[in-house]
């Protein structure tokens, strides 16, 4: 039985279609990324999965429970962990009191282990918590009962880079231990590090479901090269080079202050083989080479067309 099965899920708010016939299945033991820009409808799907709102049409099952059936869903929630997009807790309670409440209702087998990883100040009131600490408390309560399925809405927002990295490692370990993880993000680089498969949502519609490697191959790298001299001869007409932009500056200064003469800056998005990329600049003197993950918005524009319904 698939931990999550979404079937033609549609949700309208008046004229706005937040989810439009979304269909996908998350398999047991995978980390599934739910990717899309802000406002794409990710939170709508997630809150429907948790039974917080009902679908206009279609439905979904989590751990076999239809999200429209409260009794079944309540039973399933014993084995589900959930972190909302902006988790909030009773501000007058301490972190410990909140974890005690969660323990009394769903168990807390993994409390000590999780507290060693994410360590919010348990004896302080939530009112005094920073955003990061609230997020840590949210992560702990999501995993504390050792759930089979964890649903996380933008889990790393509010975490500092060190914590993000710790979280990524943690999610991979969870996956290896058999937990199914479903999480949403609007940052491609975040999902690429931990996800096995990714669904991409835009304007409430599912555009594609891909293995993360396939997606990265298709999304490519943003490349910026600065090289000495006039680069007329750079051969950019090869596979995998998109939207090349070439600009030439004369009399530019190098970092050490020396005159570099003419400098050419080339930018493009590259989806081909890295060896080809290096080959393209053979014989040129490189001043700088910068490769970055292509921004998610560019990925959308490149592969899924702009202006079709935006």
């Amino acid at each position: 039985m698939a931990p999550i099965k979404v079937d033609g899920l549609t949700r309208r708010y008046g004229d706005v279609v937040a989810n439009d016939g979304v269909t996908f299945t998350v398999e047991a033991g995978e980390v599934f990324g739910y990717l899309g820009p802000n406002g794409a409808g990710k939170t709508t799907t997630i809150r429907t999965l948790m039974g917080l709102q009902s679908p206009t049409a279609g439905t979904a099952r989590v751990l076999g429970a239809d999200v429209r059936d409260e009794r079944a869903l309540v039973a399933a929630r014993r084995r589900i962990g959930y972190l909302p997009a902006s988790p909030a807790f009773d501000e007058g309670a301490t972190g410990r009191e909140i974890l005690d409440l969660h323990a009394s209702l769903k168990g807390d087998r993994r409390r000590d282990e999780l507290l060693a990883l994410f360590d919010p100040p348990l004896d302080r009131k939530v009112r005094e918590y920073s955003t990061g600490n609230v997020q840590k408390l949210g992560l702990i309560q999501a995993f504390v009962h050792d759930p089979d399925l964890v649903i996380l809405d933008e889990p790393t927002s509010g975490l500092d880079p060190l914590m993000q990295q710790r979280f990524n490692e943690f999610v991979r370990e969870e996956r290896d231990a058999g937990t199914t993880v479903f999480f949403s993000s609007h940052v491609l680089s975040e999902v690429r590090r931990v996800c096995d498969r990714v669904a991409i949502l835009r304007d409430g519609r599912l555009l594609t479901i891909e293995d993360v490697e396939t997606l990265l191959d298709r999304s490519g790298k943003f490349v910026r090269v600065r090289l000495a001299g006039d680069a007329e001869a750079v051969d950019l007409d090869r596979n995998g080079v998109h939207d090349p932009q070439v600009s030439t500056v004369t009399g530019a200064q190098l970092a050490d202050g020396a005159d570099a003469g003419t400098v050419t800056e080339v930018t493009f998005t590259f989806t081909g083989d890295v060896n080809d990329l290096v080959g393209a600049f053979a014989g040129h003197r490189l001043l700088d080479l910068d490769l970055q993950e292509a921004p998610l918005e560019d990925v959308f524009m490149r592969f899924y067309g702009e202006g079709t319904d935006a």
């Binding site: 809150r47 917080l52 309540v74 039973a75 309670a93 409440l101 769903k106």
Partner: protein, 263 residues
């Protein structure tokens, strides 16, 4: 069971104690001024006779020259029927709406609990202020009355507090329903207080008119501190009706919240 109620009820204890202290001070003041008011030689009964009958009824004025009549009007109609009634409506109005508005409900509803259980357990936390206030104040009143050399029937004093419990739970029920109906706590609070006070006014003003049936819906109709303290009449049927109102209001809130989207 009751994990949520215990968790939230604990946090209401401090506020309930503060409320009990405040109302005890008010009660002590009423008891303390009573001898000097009666000793001043003013014929209070005659003075309040000059009030229009509707106003006298509204303020529960009867046998105003006795400690029972004085406290019934000055303390129990004013502070219990009106102030505490409104406080319970106000306080209950944030039970659901505030959690929804601040996003706390998402986490609560990720727990393996039904929505109706969330509603019921949150409502139960209202018992904390209701019980604390009604446990502390009668002690202060009975000690105070003895200190000023007056006497009051202990049975009636206990009854006026005990029978206020269903009344206060009913105004809390109005607040709870508003809390489910509106997603913003401030709106729910205003509506709950407006409805509670409006029903009280309608009941008192319309009592002698052809429209008195409107008052049947008002919780204040079924709790009459003056009748209890001055005449020793305990309206147990009224208390049962109030508990029936509670059942209807909490049941309707639970059903409604069970069906609505949490935004």
């Amino acid at each position: 069971m009751l994990e949520l109620a215990r968790f939230e009820g604990r946090r209401k204890l401090k506020g309930a104690l503060a409320l009990a202290v405040g109302l005890s001070l008010l009660a002590a003041m009423d008891v303390w001024v009573f001898p000097s008011v009666t000793a001043s030689g003013v014929d209070l009964e005659q003075f309040v006779e000059a009030y229009p009958p509707a106003l006298r009824r509204m303020m529960g004025i009867e046998a105003f020259g006795s400690i029972e009549g004085f406290l019934a009007s000055q303390l129990y109609v004013f502070a219990w029927l009106i102030l505490l009634g409104l406080y319970l409506a106000y306080s209950a109005a944030s039970l659901i709406a505030d959690d929804v508005e601040r996003g706390r409900m998402d986490v609560t509803l990720s727990l393996p609990v039904t929505r109706s259980r969330v509603v019921a357990e949150k409502y139960l936390t209202l018992l904390v202020p209701v019980l604390v206030v009604n446990a502390v104040t009668p002690v202060v009143v009975s000690v105070g009355v003895a200190l000023v050399g007056e006497s009051i029937s202990l049975g009636r004093l206990i009854a006026v507090h005990a029978l206020s419990v269903p009344y206060l739970l009913a105004t809390g029920g109005i607040g709870l329903l508003a809390s489910v109906a509106f997603d913003r706590a401030s709106v729910a609070q205003r509506v709950a207080m407006g409805v509670t006070f409006g029903l009280y006014l309608a009941e008192s003003v319309l009592a002698g008119t052809d429209y008195r049936q409107v008052g049947l819906l008002a919780p204040s109709r079924y709790y009459d501190p003056t009748a209890i303290l001055v005449r020793g009449e305990y309206d147990l049927a009224g208390a049962a009706i109030l508990l029936g109102m509670v059942a209807v209001l909490v049941g309707a809130s639970a059903l409604w919240f069970g069906r609505k989207d949490v935004q």
